[in-house]
Amino acid sequence: MTLRINHLKIAFENKRPVVEDLSLAVEERSFTALVGESGSGKTVTALSVCRLIRPAVLTGEILFSGKNLLSLDEKELLRVRGGGISHIFQDPFSSLNPVLPAGRQIEEAFRIHHPRAPKSEARNEALAALGDAAIPDPERVCRSFPHELSGGLCQRAMIAMALVSRPKVLIADEPTTALDTATQDQIMRLLARLSAERNLAVFFITHDLGLARDWAEVIYVLEKGRLVERLTKEEKFTPREPYTKKLFRAELIDQKPKTFIEI
């Protein structure tokens, strides 16, 4: 077991909790998806894993290699962030620093975890990570600013940045939503390949049930902060819960053209 969440509750100040009693497991090397509508609590869950949302009050347990991340102090947590668990986000343009070349940002991610490493090593690691992220011309991308790169290339640079510290778990929060279908497919293929080759567990968050069905081994379905269903590989096409069925119907839009979709 790589990452396990037990009875997680996420609340902001004194408001009603946004996520309640969430338990899930991300197995080693697996491709696990968390699916839900906008506002169902997917992203706060993703961010809570490494405690990236300060104002939220987290209760429950998040276990990663034997430790409860919710009880670690800030210093220990820094080693987990990036070192054990990396993140990539939905919009590659807004998650890269616009005033630094892409390569510099990847080097920075490496040097945080290897403070004594010489500059040349950081550069080589960055180039290697860009190669791993299937970027055809790593040298050029290294020198480029984010605005000089396409959305797909930016997202690959983000993946390279997430990989350069050699994590065990990659949390990908809507990694393909901002990309077109062809690029989307390339990025998903890349994540699947990395998961198999690098022993990486991918925890993949999306509102796109079709995408989750195509790629994930296990799908967790979240509705208004509560887990409604867990679908294994065999059950992917036969949901039991009404909410999941509704999500399925919304996906089946091209079955009967020019008719109303039943939702």
């Binding site: 509508e37 999500l247 839009i253 020019k258 979709i261």
Partner: protein
């Protein structure tokens, strides 16, 4: 079949980059029907939409709307064209004025095309909100107080407010999740049935286009192919 809009050999090159965004495109949209347009990012779909509405000048070719050449329209003729050919954009938040309340956004088309009195406007705004499935109290909201799906409903209400003959939908559901997307598609189908509006439906998502269209064109590197 009678067409509402025709484009012949449209061309547009962006000189700075030397990109032929639209390259010899000819198409026709029949009255009351939906023409679908699919293609990946950067193939020129949105540029084509802007050329068809005269929001961008073409380098070559011509567009006819109801038999009239749009490049030659001026004054009242142009105003009438603008009233009859509307557009819904991809990013709902970016296409609404952030400083205006929903009622002002929906009243603006009536201000531009006539001098309506306050009670008429109030009634129209209420009607429009109801038609797009939003509660009446939304009239006082600002765009930032709306979700993506709600914003898109306001943008749709604005586009259909003057009973246009044609609406160009440029990726209207691409930034929305599946359930909200299904709701918006249902709404567009319903409005189209009620009023017989012709539609050019643009998306990179073939499934969505297939769901909405009577006929589909595919665009690649600025060129059109039949599907």
């Amino acid at each position: 079949m009678e067409t509402i809009l025709e484009a012949n050999h449209l061309r547009k090159t962006f000189k700075k980059h030397g990109v032929k965004a639209v390259d010899d495109v000819t198409l026709a949209i029949p009255k009351g029907r939906t023409l679908g347009l699919v293609g990946e990012s950067g193939c020129g779909k949105s540029t084509l939409a802007k050329l068809l509405l005269g929001l961008l000048p073409a380098d070559g070719g011509e567009v006819f709307f109801g038999g009239q050449k749009i490049a030659a329209l001026k004054g009242a003729g142009l105003k009438n064209f603008r009233k009859n050919a509307q557009i819904i954009f991809q990013h709902p938040h970016a296409s609404l004025d952030p400083r205006l309340r929903v009622r002002e956004i929906l009243a603006e088309p009536f201000w531009i095309h006539g001098r309506p009195d306050a009670s008429f406007l109030k009634q129209k705004v209420a009607e429009l909100l109801e038609r797009v499935g939003l509660p009446p109290h939304f009239s006082e909201r600002l765009p930032r107080e709306l979700s993506g799906g709600e914003c898109q409903r306001v943008a749709i209400a604005r586009a259909v407010s003057l009973d246009p003959a044609l609406v160009i939908c440029d990726e209207p559901v691409s930034s929305l999740d599946a359930l909200v997307q299904a709701g918006i598609l249902n709404l567009l189908l319903r409005l189209q049935r009620e009023k017989g509006i012709a539609c050019l439906f643009i998306s990179h998502d073939l499934r969505v286009v297939r769901h909405m269209s009577d006929e589909i064109l595919r665009m690649k590197c600025g060129k059109i192919g039949r599907f």
